[in-house]
Symmetry: C3
Subunit: 119 residues, 3 copies
């Protein structure tokens, strides 16, 4: 049975949000541009983007199922975690995986890919 | 309630296709062998494999939910994107994440992991 | 419609298990600590952890949909595969993707992220 896919903020490359049934898939979120700042600043910005996209999708940070986190430098693990843990609602942490990877441009230090369910 | 999982092209290591309810999961797709060619050639081959597997699974490239792309060299980002964008149907781009990673063998330049829903 | 999310083994950072409808999401599994051993030893330990978590979630290794595997050294591919293939039940291999990535600490050689469906 064909089911409906809803795509939001669509470019020829990707949709920022894909919704199918009650699951929301976000594209990988990074901080913006050349003045992206250190990993603490970038993690704050990335998670703020996640909040905005989840709201647009009818979800929120308490409804996240999985998070895949890529760090440009795994030595930023503790600094990223501190921002992350202050952002995640108590008792609502997702299943998470974090590894090191170079991202689309050299100044990007963290990328987060989220799946969630609608609120 | 136990639900049915359908596995297609199964080896002891992996299934090329796993279907559960109306979701299709493909294994990571790469180009074949030592003469795999440059990233443009490899991206074409990978996406052609995705088409074939999605057809086998009762889906197609307009029904893709998520794409995880690993590039051997992130400097191939623009070249890969050009092939990708010409392949994605208008208005049907998935949620996508792209990072750099070394793949299973040295000559492989791009790997794409897809989830989709049946048509 | 809001659906129920069940989280098991929850910390402020992540849940080891997230269940939503009939899908189980595990956090990335690694071997423990500084004496983690070689990749064969670590893969055995990781897959044993997966067994334990899947049992806790009401699933088992025959119900795995996807596996994302990160290897610290892609040259460990064959050694990891041997352990993996002896663990996967005949005919029940998941859709799998394997790439190289540095993990959260230097001694960790393999990380596995699993989604499954309940038994």
């Amino acid at each position: 049975m064909t089911t409906q896919i809803e795509r939001i903020d669509v470019t020829p490359r990707m949709s920022k949000i894909v919704r199918h049934e009650n699951i929301v898939y976000l594209c990988g979120q990074t901080a913006k541009g050349a003045a992206a700042g250190d990993v603490v600043h970038q993690t704050h910005e990335v998670l703020s983007r996640v909040d905005t996209l989840l709201a647009k999708a009818g979800s929120d940070r308490s409804r996240i199922l999985t998070a895949m986190i890529f760090l440009r430098n795994i030595r930023d693990f503790a600094a990223m975690n501190e921002v992350w843990e202050s952002w995640v609602p108590a008792g609502a942490a997702p299943a998470r995986t974090t590894v090191q990877a170079h991202l689309a441009s050299e100044e990007l230090l963290v990328e987060v890919t989220i799946t969630a369910t609608i609120s």
